[in-house]
Symmetry: D2
Subunit: 435 residues, 4 copies
């Protein structure tokens, strides 16, 4: 995580202030539950809540205590006791540090997910708006980077919309994966803590109780969470790559917005580069890479070891902050994307009609020519276009074998762009529910 | 994929025979639909189905054709035409190779998922049986590899059961991700193929139509699929690691079944090694690694490039076959695991009572000692046990500061194993619905 | 590893036949050394060598024995004894299975490295030949996919040559990393085996003795080896990506060779796709992914665990066979690449002179204009070209602020392609030692 | 990178202050060279050097300019011009931003490498000291976590020393990989900049000129660099894992230093956990993960795209800072490691003599028993020890088949620990050059 690729709301989730505030809430809610079931005095629970709520935690002081105890939760509790007074001895009874740490992480990742969901919603909105705007903007479809057949720019964006809708669903599930609460004690047996405490804290924090924790919440949940972010990042990379391609000098069908005063190159004043989407490509690589240590974290030793902790201190913020930034940047790129329909049409025409080769092939087979023969007939005329820059229609018209099967009119009839966009509404209805 | 780590049922999904058979079915179902909507003669569709069904495809012959065409689907279609005769020209009309390839992959991955789901079910059954068998087998819980507090071996297995239940749910969703059908033509516009063909083929093959394909089914689906397998592999690694730990010479609380005639080492005849779970650790690494290229496959260029293909030809079989083998092996290990409850109890006693330190800490705070003082009191007695091998109970009884707060009986009362297993039924009810 | 992406010479390194032959040689050389130092009878060593050399190992039989012993080396030794007779008891004395397995892997990886080195040499030769052929073929240099300034196609290939020369050096070092021999016994202490045996076997097999083995050769060596292959794969991906870009319909500066009879698409007979380089992109992803489990293999438990073994059984063949295939395919692509210098020139001219923007910028600053002002002057004229398709030279000539600093002749003088290729010989001398 | 796992010297390499200072030096050295060859006035070069050296760059101001230009190098140059005055127009002539950025990164990674090399040296020193201290401390060697045969703790540390010596060599080479300088202009053709400028800047900064750069230094270099760090991290994980195992309650052969005041658990005051080595395990996962995006950075489009930049802004600091911290922490752990030779000996004796099984096997074969029979004889006695806790020596002495081949004295003679440590000096000489 570096400031350059960070947005404040997501950053604040990972601040020490937020963390200590959540820790306090977990402890205070736990005391509330313990008081309810008669384990500690109700008065103590109230005092803890009030004094802790009013406290302004001193991060320097906590760090100072940690330098001696080498234990962050104990350092925090010691500092909290300085505000709460004697009743502090009722805090954390029968709990273990991980009860606090893991439940806090669940809260942080849930909040982060909410921001990411909102980010995806914003991206989906931009994609939808631009998709309808360009529903009928004809552009060439490309396989292998080579012109295939026409499609529309709206269909391209509809595809992206469908893909990010899937990403949204995955993120909803990933959020469910990690939104659990564990207050189960040293090895998860509830020996020193009543399971009702866990249920209460979970309910107050909007989490579900973890069915079996073993001091820690099992890390397969977090692995699934970060793997999901990695897949989302891969979809970002796909759309970013599309735009980078469209902006290539030779293609120039769309362009990232280039603001007044912006400079593309220190050396070459003529440059306007797709730097935002290139940047997104790099950020996607980063978010993807964080899935790996998250998966390696799963196989903790016995009831837990602490190897996952350093990883999560890093990838917790790094993955969510970077993905938040990337999604927001991508939404902005789509929103302001400069589209050049006339260049799209110029490119459509670049292959001198070759993009209609399949229709001729089908027409030939429908006229009784075998598939193999039809293919050879079309290919031999197509290759002349490739190699000599000839016009495909003219070549076909003057090929006697083709003409034996198809009339001039039948052939000309196949060179029709409208044919290719006839089902655009069907696709839009599938994606957006309406065309 | 190597024979050593393969099981025949999963291997057969990936054989050329299976692949060509599925390709044929896709083409034949498509013809069926085209005949229904009047695009091709009904008689032709019937002939195609009958002759193709009866055909025994010759893989050598297909390979031979591919060496010329450098295109596998065309090679197959050419070979199919040799069986079908003139009506073959109605096959594949308006379709593109990826319609066949991607839909076939969806069928293969769905079938593979079904096997993997059955594997997980077998593993869950083994875990459940052994969990109930050892519901009350007391064993030490360990954090950081260091004795913490007692739990039961059944709780350990219940945790694994809960984890693999989650894996099962994830796999069900991953299966849904990839179970889609695309018959949408060269760039997904349905220009040359009616969307009803796709719907029909999907229904016959138990798939859903892909909302927007662009010649290919979007690869975020496959990325999510392989990422899910990677997470499952990580859970396998966790359980395998647990068993490897339990079998260590110094721990020896459980042991993989060692068959008559088996040899542990070529040099040392005394050896009995946890080779199956070590092997599972390695296989997990492999399955995990396949998620990466699957994610890199997402960002195909424009409507598609073919970079994903070689990756999937490798990881399709490799990931599913290896995971199938690993899950089955793990189920066998759990099923036959030799458990040593008496060694578990011996280990429980190894720390001379230190494992009760938290209860003393809590008792002291409940008796009015501050948390910080109580911690210091308990820790100073504990360290004597660590360093001089003393008995924790005796040390506590002879510590005047401890005794100022707690009576002999109160202290002795805390050294009670039963206290730690009191909530085992609660945990079992959470996991298994019943204790 | 799948046949589609395999070449026979590399495949044969990983066959059971080759493996058992190497195992035999290791055992026989060890006996030779033991006989030399008087540990076993010289006659026995000779018999072992002769009978083993003549033996045709029966792989089925070995598998059958392994099914009982669950130990591959013991199964082999049992089978070997069937050929050697009573003297077989002198084989493997004081050795452990890993002495055989790890030394064998070292031999296999060394041989694989030799093939890969030859592959790189062939690629370097093709790159050099084509680089000199196109040393002065002017083409546009692109940053961010946007035209920057001219370069030559030869310089592009020279860069690739320099990069693969580095890959070659890295591979030489990676080969050194893994070319070690361990014959050190059960935990590497040489308790039951004289260190001279290791030295002898190493010398006979062209390896170096491993300074400290602990039953196994340390896996940091293999991690470095596979990481190096992964980096080489990444360089393959770079060059493959370049060619894919050059073949795009809108660019079409070069094209993969398209053979007679080849078909680019089952649907669209006009297609000629860069399928080889797209395939290389996918294969690169695979080779890269194998580095991860190799790195996870390093942290074996204590003197060794066997988790690395399944990984290496898979990635040993998979990584080397795939990389061999990829390097050979890439060399072929370069060798037969169809280059279109006239299209290159057409593209150079596409931006109406904008590619000379830096020279104007420099000329303005040299004429006394501040860098910031000069940049603004050039950029404002450049943007007119971008937005209105104007001609850059004309815009500059009619801009009074530009003309205040530069004369018509000075401006025109800057629109000179030759200026950009003046240092090509310098670059060639750096890369090839001569221009 | 987070403060918790950072050391100031490494952090300072990545500060904006350091970066801008290096940028300035690159520009100023370039001016120096340009003045030497008469491209710009000598006086200007001197002024630039003097005013820039004296300048205190205002990071806020640079950020402010970048917000408009969206280009960091231009922002810096604009700010630099504010100090230098009119001569600023001679700065950056014919250069491109990447000339500055990539050469700066080379300087930063070189400096980071120097710190890492010093870290490894400190670790090697600690390992050597402790290895000699425990050269003859007998401990059990373990394969598969199961007791194998004795070794010494010194040998374990000697192995680690040999491994980190290899890491050091790899790092030296990795440093060479990235220590190159590119001052070659917009697409690397030296069109606007004399190659002598690059040579001069390289020499002044202790770098080598990059043979062919294409605006950027090729990223295979950086991929190799970060892959090397990943391998080093894997070796850290190995040694950390060893210590974690040794500290397990049941093993307790060594322990991380536990400082006065330290607390192992918030709940259980008795705990002393190997938290430093567990932490190192997690940090290793992180450093390993950074190799992936570095490899994905290699395949930049054409002469360059900027996708690598965001990745490097993150992993440049993250990987080097984390590895620096981890190496230093590991050196400290080794340095202060508390070793328990008496526990090691207790563990050696735990298997009731089984660890001598190989010697009996060898003695039997040397006495004429076939390998297979000898194996069976030893194994059947060994299994009694495993299963009934019998004493191996007694079982052997009372087995008539064993006694038929070996006398009581011959058998007893094999139960000798000294036998296993006879070659320790050989191993030490190999690793340290002297025993």
């Amino acid at each position: 995580m570096i400031p350059r690729y960070s947005r404040p709301e997501m950053v604040s989730i990972w601040s020490p202030e937020t963390r200590f505030r959540i820790w306090f809430e977990i402890e205070a809610y736990a005391c509330e539950a313990m008081a309810d079931i008669g384990m500690i005095p109700k008065e103590a629970a109230r005092t803890i809540w009030e004094k802790g709520s009013a406290a302004k935690f001193d991060i320097e002081r906590i760090d100072e205590i940690e330098r001696v105890t080498k234990h962050d939760v104990i350092a925090f509790l010691t500092h909290l006791a300085e505000f709460v007074g004697p009743d502090a001895r009722f805090i954390h009874q029968g709990m273990t540090s991980s009860d606090v740490l893991d439940t806090c992480l669940a809260v942080q990742l849930s909040r982060a997910s909410d921001i990411l969901l909102a980010d995806i919603d914003a991206l989906l909105a931009a994609l939808k708006r631009r998709a309808f705007e360009h529903k009928n903007t004809v552009t060439i479809g490309r396989s292998h980077g080579i012109h295939a057949e026409p499609t529309t720019f709206g269909v391209k964006l509809a595809q992206a919309h469908a893909e990010f809708s899937r990403c949204r669903e995955r993120l909803v599930r990933a959020r469910e994966e990690i939104a659990t609460c564990a207050i189960s004690g040293a090895v998860g047996t509830f020996a020193n803590i009543d399971p009702r405490v866990e249920e209460h804290v979970a309910a107050r924090l909007g989490l579900k109780p973890e069915p079996v924790s073993t001091q820690v919440i099992p890390r397969d949940r977090h692995a699934m969470f970060f793997a999901t972010l990695a897949v989302i990042a891969s979809s970002i990379e796909r759309l970013a790559t599309e735009i980078r391609h469209l902006q290539r000098t030779e293609v120039l069908e769309a362009e990232e917005y280039f603001s007044p005063g912006q400079k593309g190159s220190s050396a070459m004043p003529h440059k306007r580069n797709p730097v935002l989407t290139e940047n997104l490509t790099g950020l996607s690589r980063m978010v993807r890479s964080y899935a790996l240590p998250a998966m390696e974290n799963v196989a903790l030793w016995h009831e837990r070891d602490i190897s996952h902790s350093s990883v999560e201190r890093m990838i917790g913020p790094d993955a969510t902050i970077t993905l938040d930034f990337a999604l927001a940047r991508l939404a902005g790129v789509i929103d302001k994307l400069v589209v050049y329909p006339e260049n799209m049409m110029k490119n459509v025409e670049r292959l001198h009609g070759l993009i209609h080769s399949q229709r001729i092939l089908l027409a030939l087979t429908q006229a009784g020519v075998s598939r193999e023969d039809a293919y050879r007939l079309v290919q031999r005329n197509a290759m002349k276009v490739w190699e000599q820059g000839a016009d495909f229609l003219q070549e076909l018209l003057s090929d006697p074998d083709v003409r034996a099967a198809l009339s001039e009119e039948e052939i000309k009839d196949k060179f029709d762009l409208g044919y290719h966009t006839a089902q655009v509404d069907t696709i839009f209805r599938r994606v957006f529910g309406a065309a």
